[in-house]
Each structure stands twice: as structure tokens, then as C-alpha cells.
Amino acid sequence: MTEKASKKDNVFDTIPKLMLHHARERGNSPANRQKELGIWNSWTWNQVADEVKSLALGLASLGFQRGEKLAVIGNNRPRLYWSMVATQVLGGIPVPLYQDSVAEEMLYVLENADVKYAIVQNQEQTDKLLEIKERLPKLEHICYEEPRGMRNYSKEFIHYYKDIQENGKIFQDDNPDFFLSEIEKSHGNDIAIFLYTSGTTGAPKGVVLTFNNLIISSRNGIKFDSLTSEEEVLAYLPMAWVGDNIFSFGQAYVAGYCVNCPENRETVTTDLKEIGPTYYFAPPAIYENVLTKVMIRMEDAGRLKRIMFKYFMDLAKSVGIRILDGKTVSIKDRLLYKTGNFLVYGPLLNNLGLSRTRLAYTAGEAIGPEIFEFFRSLGINIKQLYGQTEATVFVCAQPDGEVKADTVGKAYPGVELRLSDNNEVFYRGPGVFHSYYKSPEATAETKDSEGWVATGDAGFFDDDGHLKIIDRAKDVGRMKDGTMFAPKYIENKLKFFPYIKEVVAFGNEKIFASALICIDIEAVGNWAEKRNLAYSGYTDLSARKEVYDLVQDCVESVNTDLARDEKLRGSQIRRYLLLHKELDADDGEITRTRKVRRSTISDKYSELIDALDDLQQTHREIESEMTFEDGRVGNVKADLQIRELNLV
């Protein structure tokens, strides 16, 4: 911890205790809102405490014992968040599940977590559980929140949320002290929640987090970003995801701010506008979507609007970011920016629902620099953070005024970082998870006896002490001269250019780095059309000298970027060629989710890769198989040019 915990912090060391604290301190302030039947309904902290109380006691009257597990499945809804608190009141452990999972996927988690109770949103989720109930002997009770379509479900183990609460009220009359005495029994070191990692490799693992993990991490975050009880957030990302458990749960219960739940998943954009969150979180894809939509709509706008938009956005790019970072800006520019705010930025942000947004985070993967700059230039303090479920989110984050598009920031308050010899990132801190549930081996593999956790990601620190994540540690190699070679880092940088669709970079154990590049036929096609450049198809277009020149600009700009980093300087791309066909899942070159299959490509195009390595060769003929849309297989022949660059 950054500083000694005050006495108060020790007293409020569980989520239920914090809830009672807020009910006393700000009992009439809103704690939750949800849009129902077109109206935002709100619940004050007092009401939330009452709701949680009757639910917890209702569960107790069903026989809920300390240490038992309760699954929570559904969209973000106040009642489901209360279910988690009610479980914690009783000393139980909530296990939120991804609501999109099919029944078979839920089976593993429910079984692994020894789930005995489930509180679900609706009929859809109930049906999933009924489908697998026979194979889950431990699952005893299912409780649903929305009665719609549930009339004919008469089984005795299926309960309606409000009926359980009614039972809770009866239970309260018989056991008036039960609620408070149960809450007092739990402490910071007790287990607060299980969060299952999505498990890209192997079965999902249940990450066990304690109240201290959740609450101390939340508290550090609140201090780091000066959050207050006045924040408004929109809870729209899955409840099973660790981020939601911090931004819409942990931090809300520590700071006492209001969490708003959208009407349903399709209405998030409109709900965002109506709520106007002050603190916002989204993965890069959502920001990218917003930017694309704005750009498309601007293309259809009238001439005057387009000119205004272009002028003021250019201004914002130079001035807005400097203002946001607190740097000096001339009075004239400030005035112009104010005008722009009145005419363009303000209305635009209002339309996006971001006009009140003071702080926004993005994480998960690299965000394109132009997307990042777009939002920052509009005055939204968007920052990157680097986190994991095992760390209760926070490992690194960018402090205010030190924001860069290509780093994930400095070590979070209370977190220590170190790099191993092969540049893998390790961390230690208050958020470090308790264990993987029922898997001591996996726990020991990830977390050592001193509490250091291996992330599996490789990175390095830049001159300002910011961490740059470059690739998965196992994919990072070394070039002949010992320079670190991180293929994905270079490929991502190139893919941020609209003209480039896919890149495969090579450099491991080589003298210089090279790349196979696939152009984006739409973007390059448009570009060619504007220049009256006739072409017959993909193969023809990608062989054009003009297109090679176009891509060369992109590669050179990436090389300039790489040259700025002492550690990556040697991995600049020296030679590249434009592939004569798109990488295609039908040919096994990429996965269905568009991830490049490096080994398949190395085999299939080995002669091209050899030619790239051989400085004597300036072009190479190739004949390769290609699967057409209708499933027929044909051969494509091409003579590919190799372009060599002068390195910076």
C-alpha cells in the first residue's frame, strides 16, 4: 500500500460494510439507476441497503451457509449487483458468469466453482441452467429476476427474486440481529469473489480475490484519479469481467458513486447520452467504432459543416492535447479552441454522450494513435492502463499529464514491477490474487512465494519510466545482433495504417527484419480510384509501383518510430514485399477471428521469406494455391517485387 491504511479503512474492509457506511453517510444519494419502461429508476444507498438486506435474509431462509457459492448470470442490472453483495453479507462467494456463454460453457465454471445457488436475469438464463442441471448435482436453487415468460416454471427449486425478498422480510422479524452480525463476521482477508478468466488456452481458471484485493485496489485507484462520490458511470461491460468489478462495483462501493445500468444491451448508446458518465471505460474497439461513425456522418454533412469540422479538428490536434496536458498555449489558440468548443467539440461530445466525461480508460489491446488523439484533442482525458484479473485490474496506468498513445504508463500506486531476462513483466502489489480455485499447481506456476506474478507479456520501460507492452513473452525473439524482436509490436504499428490489412514480420535469429504485407483492398482501391490508377484486381493492384511507394511511407514512418527506442532500433524493417493475395482463413493462413497463423505462413511462403533475407534478390516468382469463395481451389502466379529501405 502507498500509505498506512487509516483506522477508517480497516473498519470498512468488506463490501457489505461499505454499503452500510454509505447508507449512513449519504443515505439519500443515488447508488444505482436503471432504465425501465423508458424511465430511469433510481435507488438511494438506503434503498440499496434495504434491498440487499431482504435478499440476503431470504437466501438465509433458503438455507444459505457461509462459504457457499452463488452464481450471478445476466446483463448489468442493479439487482444482480445486489445479489453479489447479499452473498457477501452471508459470507458466501459470488461467481459472476459471462451471460453470453452457452449452457455447455457454463457447466464447467458452475461445476468447478461448486455453485449451489444461482441468481439469473431472465428466462433465457434459467433455461440454460435447466438444460445442464442434471449434470450439476450441487446446484440446488435457481432464482430469476424478470418474471416474463416464467409463468409455467413451477419446479420447487426455481424462485422469483421478489419472493425471496419477501421471505427475507419474514426472516428478519424472527432474527432481528442476524443481518448485522453476519456482516461483522467477514473481514478484509476473506474471499470476496471468484472471477473466471476467459481461458484462451485451456479451461477457464477461477481467480480468487479477497476483499482486500478489491477494496485496496479500488481505494488506490480512487486516489490516483481523484474520483469522488459524485461520479456517474454506466455499467455495460460483462459483470464477469474484472474491470466491471472494479469500475462499477469495487470503486463504486468505496467512493460511493452512482452506477447506472442500461435498459438493455442494444440501448447502450442512447443510455450513454442520457446519463453522460463522468468516468468511462471501453476497450479500443468501441472508441474506434465511435470515431468511424463520426467520420462517416461528417462525410455526409453539408459543405459548411465539413469545412468547420476539418478546421477545428486540425486545431484541436495541435492545441487541445496541449491544453489537456496543462502545457502552455498562446492566448490566440486558446480563444480559437474555445470557439471550436462552442461550435464543434461541445455538440459532438454531447451527441456521443461524453460531454461530462472527465476521465476515460482504455485497455485490453493497443489503441490506434489517431483514435487516441481524436478523443484527447476533444478534451477527454483518455488514458491507457494495463491490467489483469490476477492483479484485480491495476498493474500500470498513465498518470494525468503523462499520457502517451503507445505506453501503458507507470507502475500503479502500491504496485512493484520488474522485468525478467527475456523481458517478461512481473508485478507484485495489493491486488495480487489469492489463488486459482482448486488449482494450487497453476497458482504456483503464476505466483511465486514472494508474491511476484508472471504476466506472460513482454515489455520494456521507455526513458520516462513508462512500460511498453510489446508482445506475448513467448513470441518475442532475438535478432542475430541480440536486438529484441517483437513481431506483434511491429505488425500492430503497421496495421494502424488504413492501407495495410495484415503484416507478418520476420526477424528472429536474422540479421535484419523483413515483412510480408497485405494491402487493404478497399482503402488502397479508393486511393487508386482517386488517382485514376486503373487495376484489374488484388494481385494487380498490390504489384503496382505506386502502391509500393504508398506502403513505403507507412513502413518508413514505423521505422522512424522504432529508431527512437534504443532497444528496438535494430528491428527496423529493411525489406518488405506486398503479397499477391489476401491472407485467408479458408487457406488456413489466419484464424476465423483474424489472427495470423505465423507457422503456416512461414511454411507456405518459405521461398518468399528466403528471398527477403537474400540481399541479392530483388524479386521472386511464386505460385500458390488459393481457395475460392465457392470452395474450388486454384493456382495464382505472381512475380513479387522486393523493396529495400534505407534504415534510419
Binding site: 419502461l37 416474463r148 438493455n264 442512447t270
Partner: protein, 264 residues
């Protein structure tokens, strides 16, 4: 919707209906009964007279002979707005919405019959009109929630894809809180997923509100799954009546669908 138990079990009976346009006989001696709270289907090949039958029921067409008895009341001639007041709502084969208005306003227009305040108060949006508007809006919001169209609440209907327009049209019919709901090809032109959604809504409406539903539909698998009973029309005549199993094995129906030489 209030349960009304003071009517006989038959909600609508059609007796000896004959309808012709000039020399063309669209419907000939049609008889059938629709029971309260059932889902009843009218099927038949193209041009069999299905839509004409619906139009007769809700008063668009006036049959030359025959009688319709709705909720125990004899009706020989009934105009569409009277049918609406009586509790008959319908959707159309081709969507008939106000394209420039939002989903919300389109469904709200279905509440028109339930609004009592006069145009003066409505224009001022004050006093009784305001209270009434709020009450009706609540009903409409309930329908929006029921049909899961919250995200298009404020979207002009003309901008919506066809499947959603059909859903809005169903919403408008529901807003009338009808006793009898006539659906003219509710699933025409929809993809499988939209069809499944629509089936679920039809079943839910029937179950939750107790609404009697008469539906015309071409997709046989849908009809056989949804409806409890049905009649089959061919060339304006009723050739069969019964539950899905009876219809499936009826030789006349098989002939009508597969095509057999007709002798007049």
C-alpha cells in the same frame, strides 16, 4: 388486460359468408367459429381468399350474404373503426405504418381510441390530457419492453429494417388492447431468426394477455407449430377445418397444395 368471462366460449362466429366482386366469388359459404384465447390460422394457396376473410372480419369488406357474430353481438355490416372499438385489431400484409413517425409515436397512435380528452386539452397538453397521455405512455412503454424494441424507441419507422417494422406494427395493434388480433402474414419476408422472434411474441401475447389470435401465414411449419386449429381455403371455399394433425392428413388439403385438376 381485463379478463371477460361473461361471453360465451366462442368469441367470433362466421356464418354463411358470401363475398363477391362483380362476377368473381371471393368467398363462398364460409362458416367457422373462433374460440376464446385460441390461436387460429387461415391457410390456403395464393388467391384462396384468406385476406378477404380477414377484411370481412374487421369490416373492410361487406359480405353480400352471411353474418358475423363477435362477442355475442350480431353484425351484418361493421365499419373498420367500429370493429376497432369492439376490440378487433390487425396488422397488414404490407406494413402500414406512419413512416416519418418514431416507433413510440406509431405505437402511441394505437392508443388513440383509448384517449378521451378533446383536441383542445390535447393541444394545450394540460390538465386531463396530460394525465391521460402519461397513463397511455406507460401502456406503450410496457409494449415496447414486451416486444424488446427499446433501442428503436425514437427512430423514425421508415429507417428500420422490414422485420422490425413488422414488430412495430404488431406493437401498434397491441396498443389497442384487442380481444381479437388479426395478423396478416406476420412473418412474410423475414429471416429465420426474425421468424423465431415473431413466433415467440405471438405465443407470449396469447399466453400473457389472453388475446385470441387469427393468423394468415404461408410458412406451413410455423402455422402447424403455432396454431391450435385452422381452416383451409381454396378458391374461396372452405375445404377443411381442424387441428394441425387433421389438416396435415386431409386429402383435399394435399390436393389443393399440390395442385389437382379442378372441376367446377
Amino acid at each position: 388486460m381485463p379478463a371477460q368471462n361473461n361471453y360465451p366460449e366462442i368469441i367470433l362466429s362466421v356464418d354463411q359468408i358470401n363475398l363477391s366482386f362483380g362476377g368473381v366469388k371471393a368467398l363462398e359459404d364460409i362458416n367457422f367459429d373462433i374460440r376464446k384465447k385460441e390461436i387460429f390460422a387461415i391457410i390456403g394457396p395464393n388467391g384462396a381468399g384468406k385476406t378477404s376473410m380477414l377484411n370481412v372480419i374487421n369490416g373492410f369488406y361487406h359480405p353480400q350474404h352471411g353474418e358475423i357474430r363477435f362477442k355475442g353481438l350480431h353484425r351484418k355490416q361493421m365499419r373498420p373503426h367500429e370493429a376497432a372499438v369492439q376490440g378487433i385489431a390487425r396488422t397488414f400484409q404490407n406494413v402500414a405504418l406512419f413512416k416519418g413517425m418514431t416507433t413510440l409515436n406509431n405505437i402511441m397512435s394505437g392508443r388513440n381510441l383509448k384517449m378521451k380528452s378533446n383536441i383542445f386539452w390535447q393541444a394545450l397538453y394540460y390538465g386531463p390530457a396530460r394525465k391521460e397521455e402519461m397513463e397511455n405512455r406507460e401502456v406503450v412503454e410496457y409494449i415496447i419492453d414486451f416486444l424488446e424494441i427499446q433501442s428503436i424507441r425514437r427512430t423514425p419507422v421508415g429507417k428500420l429494417p422490414y422485420g422490425l417494422q413488422k414488430r412495430v406494427e404488431l406493437g401498434r395493434a397491441l396498443a389497442m388492447e384487442p380481444d381479437l388480433l388479426l395478423l396478416d402474414e406476420p412473418m412474410a419476408g423475414m429471416n429465420i431468426e426474425e421468424k423465431q422472434d415473431m413466433c415467440r411474441f405471438i405465443l407470449d401475447i396469447n399466453e400473457q394477455f389472453g388475446t385470441t389470435i387469427v393468423l394468415i401465414e404461408h410458412d406451413m411449419s410455423v402455422v402447424m407449430d403455432l396454431s391450435e386449429r385452422m381452416i383451409v381455403l381454396d378458391y374461396g371455399r372452405k375445404i377443411a377445418e381442424g387441428n394441425p394433425d387433421e389438416i396435415r392428413s386431409n386429402q383435399k388439403v394435399i390436393d389443393a397444395y399440390l395442385g389437382v385438376a379442378h372441376s367446377n
